[in-house]
C-alpha cells in the first residue's frame, strides 16, 4: 500500500491494530508519519485537530502497552514538533505520570527533556522535579544526570571561569545530597557517578602542548591537547616561519596519518639555514583557536617550547583542583565510609581519584595500597585497574622528571601494563621501561622523536609497532621478552641511527636463521646480540 501511495485513514486504522498490540515496529510508525503528512495537506484545520487528538490518544495507549518503546516516544516527539499549538503542560503531566510509575524510565526522561526544552520550562522547576524523584528513590541515573545539565544552567559561571562548573555553595549542597546517597547505599553506582561529575572539571581547553624543531632531521613536531586529524592541504594547522607562512605536508610519526596527538612536518633547508641569529616557528591551530611559537637559535641543533606537565591542568583532569578544601573534606568522608565499608569498590576508587586530584606525588604510596585493596575486592576489573594504575604511575614519573628538569625517564620496576601519555614524552632522550608487564611497544611510541636509548628488558613484549621512524634511536635493549618471530622486528628498519640491539632471552633467538634475517633487515646495526 505504501508503495502504491495509498496513504489514507485506512492505513492509520490498519497500522493502529498492529501497533496497538506491539508498538515496537518502526516501519509502521514511518507509514503513519507519511499518512499524517499527506493528510495535513488535504484536511481542514478542524479535521486535522481531531486527527491529532486521536493520534495522541493512540500513542498513549501504545505507551501503556510498552512504556519503553523507542518508536512510540519518537513518534510523539515528531507529532508534537509539527503541531501549531502543542499543549506542553499536558505533555509534562504525561511525563510526570509515567515517571511516577517508573521513575527510571529513561525514554520518558528523554521525552521530558525534549518537552522542557520546547516549552522553555525554567531549569529551577525541572531541578525541583528531579529533587522530588531523587527523594523517592535516589537510584536514578536519569535524575542525577538531569541535575548535571540543569545546575550549570542555573548557575552560569562568569565568562572567565571554567564552563560547566558550579559555584562553591551550590557544589557543597550537591555534595551533601550525593553523600547522603552513597552513605545510605554505597553500592548504588548512580550516586558515585554524579559525585565524580560534581568534582570533575570541564573539558580542558584546546591547546598546543609542545613544539619541537630539529635541525638535524629538518623536522618540526607538534603535540596537541587532544587527538586531531590534520588533512593534506587543509587549513587546520598553519605554520609561520619567521613570520611568513610556509606550506608543508603534515604526517603522524608512525606514518599512518590517523587522528593523533602528534603531527610533524619536514622543513625546507631555507627555513633552517644559519644565516640568521635565530628562526622563529609559529604554529596556529585554527580549529582549536590556539597557537605556539618556538625559536631555533643559531648553532643549536634543536629548539622547543612546551607547557609544563607540572602545571596542574595536564593530568588532574579527572577531578577539579580549584576547590582543594572541598576535595580534602570529600576525601575524609570517603575514608570514613571506607572504614565502614572496606570492600566497597566505588568508595575505594573515589578515594584514589581524590588523592590524585589533591596531590598525586604526596599520596603515591597510599594510592598504590588502595589499588591493591581495590583489585582484591573487584577482581573482575583487575586489568582495568592495572591500566589505570600504570597511567597514574606514568604521570607521576613524568612530573618527577620535569621537576628534575631532565630528559631521562625511568619507568623500570613499576608493574606497568600499558603505556599512555606518550605524546607528553616528545623530548625524552633516554627511556627505561625494564621490568614491567608491558606486552607491546604501541604505535604512539613513535612520538618520541628525541629518543636515543630505549631499554625495555624483562617485559612480555610481543610487538614493536611503536619503534618506528625514531630518527635518533641508537640503542634498543629488549632482553627477556616474548618476541616470537624475527618478522616483528621489521619496524626497526625505519630507525636510521640504530647501532645497538639486544634481543637476548627472546624466543626468536632459538629460531633458525634469525641472525641472517636480522643482518639482512638491519644492515646498519653493527651490534646485534641474539
Amino acid at each position: 500500500m505504501r508503495q502504491a501511495g495509498e496513504l489514507d485513514e485506512s492505513v492509520l486504522e490498519l497500522t493502529s491494530q498492529i501497533l496497538g498490540a506491539n508498538p515496537d515496529f518502526a516501519t509502521l510508525w514511518n507509514c503513519r508519519r507519511e499518512v499524517l503528512q499527506r493528510l495535513e495537506a488535504q484536511k481542514s484545520p478542524e479535521e486535522l485537530a481531531a486527527l491529532v487528538k486521536t493520534e495522541l490518544g493512540f500513542l498513549e495507549s501504545c505507551l501503556r502497552v510498552n512504556p519503553k518503546s523507542y518508536g512510540t516516544w519518537h513518534h510523539r516527539c515528531w507529532l508534537l514538533g509539527r503541531l501549531p499549538e502543542p499543549n506542553w503542560a499536558r505533555e509534562l503531566e504525561l511525563c510526570a505520570r509515567f515517571l511516577e510509575v517508573d521513575e527510571r524510565n529513561f525514554h520518558c526522561w528523554d521525552y521530558r527533556r525534549f518537552v522542557a526544552a520546547q516549552a522553555a520550562v525554567p531549569p529551577a522547576e525541572e531541578l525541583a522535579f528531579t529533587d522530588s524523584l531523587i527523594t523517592r528513590n535516589f537510584s536514578n541515573y536519569s535524575s542525577w544526570h538531569y541535575r548535571s545539565c540543569l545546575l550549570p544552567q542555573l548557575h552560569p559561571q562568569p565568562d572567565s571561569g571554567p564552563q560547566g562548573r558550579l559555584p562553591e555553595d551550590v557544589l557543597l549542597k550537591e555534595l551533601e545530597l550525593v553523600q547522603n546517597a552513597f552513605f545510605t547505599d554505597p553500592n548504588d553506582q548512580s550516586a558515585w557517578f554524579y559525585h565524580r561529575w560534581l568534582l570533575g572539571r570541564a573539558d580542558p581547553q584546546d591547546a598546543l602542548r609542545c613544539l619541537h624543531v630539529s635541525r638535524d632531521e629538518a623536522c618540526l613536531t607538534v603535540s596537541f591537547s587532544r587527538p586531531v586529524l590534520v588533512g593534506p592541504r587543509t587549513e587546520t594547522l598553519l605554520l609561520m616561519v619567521d613570520e611568513s607562512p610556509l606550506a608543508v605536508e603534515w604526517r603522524t610519526p608512525d606514518g599512518r596519518n590517523w587522528p593523533g596527538h602528534v603531527w610533524l612536518c619536514d622543513l625546507p633547508a631555507t627555513s633552517l639555514n644559519d644565516q640568521l641569529p635565530h628562526h622563529t616557528f609559529r604554529v596556529i591551530w585554527t580549529a582549536g583557536n590556539a597557537q605556539k611559537e618556538c625559536v631555533l637559535l643559531k648553532g643549536h641543533q634543536e629548539g622547543w617550547c612546551r607547557d609544563s606537565a607540572t602545571d596542574e591542568q595536564l593530568f588532574r583532569c579527572e577531578l577539579s583542583v580549584e576547590k582543594s578544601t572541598v576535595l580534602q573534606s570529600e576525601l575524609e568522608s570517603c575514608k570514613e565510609l571506607q572504614e565502614l565499608e572496606p570492600e566497597n569498590k566505588w568508595c575505594l576508587l573515589t578515594i584514589i581519584l581524590l588523592m590524585r586530584a589533591l596531590d598525586p606525588l604526596l599520596y603515591e604510596k597510599e594510592t598504590l595500597q588502595y589499588f591493591q585493596t581495590l583489585k582484591a575486592v573487584d577482581p573482575m576489573r583487575a586489568a582495568y585497574l592495572d591500566d589505570l594504575r600504570s597511567k597514574f604511575l606514568l604521570e607521576n614519573s613524568l612530573l618527577k622528571m620535569e621537576y628534575a628538569e631532565v630528559r631521562v625517564l625511568h619507568l623500570g620496576h613499576k608493574d606497568l601494563t600499558v603505556l599512555c601519555h606518550l605524546e607528553q614524552l616528545l623530548l625524552v632522550t633516554h627511556l627505561d621501561l625494564s621490568h614491567n608487564r608491558l606486552r607491546a611497544l604501541p604505535p604512539a611510541l613513535a612520538a618520541l622523536r628525541c629518543l636515543e636509548v630505549l631499554q625495555a628488558n624483562d617485559n612480555a613484549i610481543e610487538s614493536l609497532d611503536g619503534v618506528t621512524n625514531l630518527p635518533r634511536l641508537q640503542e634498543l635493549s629488549l632482553c627477556n621478552n616474548r618476541l616470537q618471530q624475527p618478522m616483528v622486528l621489521q619496524p626497526l628498519a625505519s630507525c636510521p641511527r640504530l647501532v645497538l640491539l639486544n634481543l637476548q632471552g627472546n624466543p626468536l633467538c632459538q629460531a633458525v636463521g634469525t641472525s641472517e634475517y636480522l643482518a639482512e633487515l638491519l644492515p646498519l646495526v653493527n651490534s646485534i646480540l641474539v
Partner: protein, 651 residues
C-alpha cells in the same frame, strides 16, 4: 420481629468481632448456612468503632453496672428436653472495666448537646454503619476497592492498576485534582457514609488553636470513628493477605501510616526506616546512615549470616544492638520503633521482628502499616458483608440464652435465643465474652489498658502534619512496666473532626488503664485550659478529651481452660494487645480448618460475570473447583426478617 428465623443452620456464630466475622465469611463462602448473631446493637463487639455520641452511649451502657440484672431463667428451661442439658451464656458483657472520662475542652453549654443526646436514644444509629446497608453492598457502593492509597504492588491487580493510572492522559489533570482531594475528603459516592456525615461545615476560618470546645466535638461527633482496639495492618501481614485473597478488600479503603516516631530524651522524633527515609533524614549523620542501613540490610536476611548473631542468641536484643556499633539513637530506633520489642526480648526474636517490619516496607508505601479509613471497626464488617453476600443471615441485638447439648452424644445441637426460639446447627462458634462465669471459672484473663484522646495538634508538628498518621512506641518508663503504643490519626483517616487528632494509647495492663497510661499522656500532652499561656507547655499538643478503660484480653487462652464445652462449640477470643491482626486471622483460619478440614479458607470469589444461575439449583459448572452453593433467595425469609441481610447474591 425476628421471631421466625429459620431454625436449621450449619453454623451459628455468636459475636461479630474480627475472628468471628472472618469465620462467618469463610463458612458462608464454602457453602455453609450461617447464622451470625450479636447481642449488641452494633457490629464488631470490642473491635467496633464509634462516632463520638456512639462512644458516649457505649460508655453509659458499660458504666451502669448490674442494671438489668436477673431475668428469669425459667422461660427457656422448659424448652430443654429430657435428653438434653443447657449451658447458659453470659447475660452481660463484662470485658470493659475502669472507665474514666476527662473533658478538658471548655463545656460551654449550648443547644448542640441537646441535639445529639436525642441520638443516643436510638442505639442502632451509634454504629458507624447501619446494618441494612450491608446487604446492599452492590448498590450503595459506599466502600471502594482499594484506591490509589494502596497501589498493591504485589497483588494480582497491580499491573492492571498501574496501567490504569496512566490510562487517560486526557483526564490527567482532572484526575489529579480528584486524587488530591481524595486524601482528605470522603469522596465515597452515595452510600450511608455520606448520610451519616453531614456536609462538613465551613469552619476553616477558625483560628487554629483555642477554639475547639466540647460542644463542637459533640456537634461534629459523627466525624469521629473511635476504635475500641487500636491496631494497624502489616502490609505483608496475614490480614492484608486474607483481604486480598478473599477479595474482601473491595469493601474497604486504606491509608498508609506515614510516620514511625520515637520518643527519646523527652522529644518526639521521626524514625527513618526505609532507604528513602534514611537518605532524606536530616537528623542522622552520614556515618549513622551507613551503620543503620548496614544493620537493616543485614536484618532482611539475617538467617543467611548466622555468624553475625550466633554468639548472641542468649543475650537480649538490646545488648546485641550495642555490639553492632549502633549509636544510642539508632539502638533506640531499632529496638523500640522498628522491632517494637521490649528491651528484654532475645536477639533472635528481635531480629525476627525487625525483619518482619522491613519485609512490610514498600509494598504500599514508605512504612509497613496500613490503617483502614473510618477505623478498624470497618474490617469485621467487611467480612460480615462477604458472609452476607454468600447467604449468611445477620441478626444484631439478638441475645442467645443458652446452648443445648445432647446428653448422649455430648454435642451441642441448638441454641435458644432471647425469644425462646430454638435454632439447630451443626457447629457453634462463640466469642469468649459470651461464655458464662461458670464456663470460664478456670480462665485467667489478661487485661489491655487503653486510652483514647482527642487533641488539637500533632505530637510531631511538621509542615504537613495534618495529613499524617503516626505510630509511636514509648518505651517503659521504669522496669517492670510495659511499652506504650501510641497511634495518632489525622482527620483524613475519617476518624476525627477537622483540626483535631485522635490518639490511641495501648499497653498490656499492670494496673488500671489510667494508672498505666497517664504518665505517658502527661509527657506527650498538656491538658487544655482556657487561660494557659505557658510558652513551653504550648509546644505540646493539648488534650481536649480523654477516655481510659481496661479491656479484657482473652487471646492465648487454651480451649481446655473452659469448663464443659461440647466438642462442636468453638471459642473465639476478643482483641489481643498486639499491633497487628495476626492473632485473629490465625485463630479464624485454625478454627475453620478444624471444623472443615477439607475446605479452602476464603478463596477468591468468582467473577460475577462467571456465575451462572442455574434454575435447577445445580452448582454452576463454570466454577470448577470453587465449591459454592448459591443459595436461592428465599422470599419468605426476606419478608419476615427485615433485620437480617440474607441471601444476597453478587449480581
Amino acid at each position: 420481629m425476628a421471631d421466625s428465623l429459620p431454625t436449621e443452620f450449619d453454623v451459628v456464630i455468636i459475636g461479630t468481632g474480627l475472628p468471628e466475622s472472618i469465620l462467618a465469611a469463610a463458612c458462608s463462602r464454602s457453602g455453609q448456612r450461617v447464622l451470625h448473631l450479636d447481642s449488641r446493637s452494633y457490629y464488631g463487639g470490642n473491635w467496633a468503632s464509634f462516632s463520638f455520641s456512639g462512644l458516649l452511649s457505649w460508655l453509659k451502657e458499660h458504666q451502669q453496672n448490674g442494671d438489668n440484672a436477673e431475668e428469669s431463667t425459667a422461660s427457656w428451661q422448659g424448652l430443654v428436653h429430657e435428653t438434653e442439658e443447657a449451658i447458659a451464656l453470659r447475660k452481660k458483657d463484662e470485658t470493659i472495666e475502669h472507665i474514666e472520662v476527662f473533658c478538658y475542652a471548655s463545656q460551654d453549654m449550648d443547644d448542640n448537646i441537646e441535639e445529639i443526646s436525642a441520638l443516643q436514644k436510638n442505639p442502632s444509629s451509634v454504629t458507624s454503619k447501619p446494618l441494612d446497608s450491608v446487604c446492599l453492598s452492590e448498590e450503595t457502593n459506599s466502600l471502594h476497592v482499594t484506591s490509589s492509597e494502596t497501589p498493591a504492588k504485589d497483588t494480582p491487580k497491580s499491573d492492571e492498576e498501574i496501567s490504569l493510572e496512566v490510562t487517560d492522559v486526557e483526564d490527567i489533570l482532572a484526575e489529579e485534582k480528584y486524587c488530591g482531594d481524595k486524601t482528605c475528603i470522603n469522596t465515597a459516592s452515595g452510600g450511608d457514609k455520606d448520610e451519616n456525615k453531614p456536609i462538613e461545615e465551613d469552619n476553616t476560618d477558625q483560628p487554629k488553636r483555642n477554639r475547639i470546645t466540647y460542644s463542637q466535638i459533640v456537634k461534629e461527633g459523627r466525624r469521629f470513628n473511635i476504635d475500641l482496639v487500636s491496631k494497624l495492618l502489616y502490609s505483608q501481614g496475614l490480614l492484608i493477605d486474607l483481604l486480598i485473597k478473599s477479595n474482601v478488600s473491595r469493601y474497604a479503603e486504606f491509608k498508609n501510616v506515614t510516620r514511625i516516631l520515637a520518643f527519646r530524651e523527652g522529644k518526639v522524633e521521626q524514625v527513618p526506616c526505609s532507604r528513602a527515609d534514611v537518605f532524606n533524614s536530616k537528623e542522622l549523620t552520614m556515618v549513622e546512615k551507613r551503620i543503620l542501613m548496614k544493620f537493616l540490610t543485614f536484618c532482611l536476611d539475617y538467617e543467611q549470616h548466622p555468624d553475625q548473631y550466633q554468639a548472641f542468641v542468649h543475650c537480649s536484643f538490646s545488648d546485641y544492638l550495642k555490639t553492632k556499633k549502633l549509636t544510642p539513637n539508632l539502638q533506640h530506633f531499632v529496638l523500640h520503633s522498628i522491632a517494637m520489642t521490649e528491651s528484654s526480648c532475645t536477639t533472635l526474636d528481635g531480629l525476627k521482628a525487625t525483619k518482619n517490619f522491613l519485609r512490610c516496607l514498600g509494598r504500599f508505601g514508605n512504612t509497613p502499616f496500613l490503617f483502614p479509613l473510618y477505623g478498624q471497626g470497618e474490617i469485621p464488617q467487611c467480612f460480615c458483608r462477604m458472609c452476607a453476600v454468600f447467604g449468611g443471615i445477620y441478626c444484631l441485638r439478638h441475645k442467645v440464652q443458652c446452648l443445648i447439648v445432647d446428653k448422649e452424644s455430648g454435642r451441642c445441637k441448638a441454641i435458644i435465643d432471647h425469644l425462646d426460639q430454638r435454632i439447630n446447627a451443626k457447629y457453634f462458634i462463640v466469642e469468649d465474652s459470651y461464655l458464662s462465669e461458670e464456663t470460664c471459672s478456670n480462665v485467667q484473663y489478661k487485661q489491655i489498658s487503653r486510652a483514647v484522646l482527642i487533641t488539637d495538634q500533632s505530637i510531631l508538628k511538621k509542615a504537613d502534619s495534618d495529613q499524617q498518621i503516626s505510630i509511636l512506641i514509648v518505651p517503659p518508663m521504669e522496669s517492670g512496666t510495659c511499652a506504650v503504643r501510641v497511634t495518632e490519626l489525622c482527620s483524613s483517616t475519617m476518624t476525627c473532626m477537622k483540626d483535631t487528632y485522635l490518639v490511641h494509647l495501648t499497653c498490656s495492663s499492670s494496673k488500671t488503664a489510667r494508672e498505666d497510661l497517664e504518665s505517658v499522656v502527661k509527657k506527650l500532652f498538656t491538658p487544655y485550659t482556657e487561660t494557659e499561656i505557658d510558652k513551653e507547655e504550648l509546644t505540646k499538643p493539648r488534650l481536649l478529651w480523654a477516655l481510659y478503660f481496661n479491656m479484657r484480653d482473652s487471646s492465648g487462652i487454651s480451649r481446655s481452660s473452659y469448663n464443659g464445652l461440647p466438642s462442636n462449640v468453638y471459642v473465639c477470643s476478643g482483641p489481643d494487645c498486639g499491633l497487628g491482626n495476626e492473632h485473629a486471622v490465625k485463630q479464624a483460619e485454625t478454627l475453620f480448618q478444624e471444623i472443615f478440614p477439607n475446605e479452602d479458607f476464603c478463596p477468591p470469589p468468582p467473577n460475577p460475570e462467571d456465575i451462572i444461575f442455574d434454575g435447577d439449583d445445580k452448582q454452576p459448572e463454570a466454577l470448577g473447583t470453587n465449591n459454592i452453593i448459591m443459595a436461592k433467595p428465599d422470599s419468605s425469609e426476606e419478608n419476615k426478617n427485615p433485620e437480617s441481610p440474607e441471601n444476597h447474591h453478587q449480581n
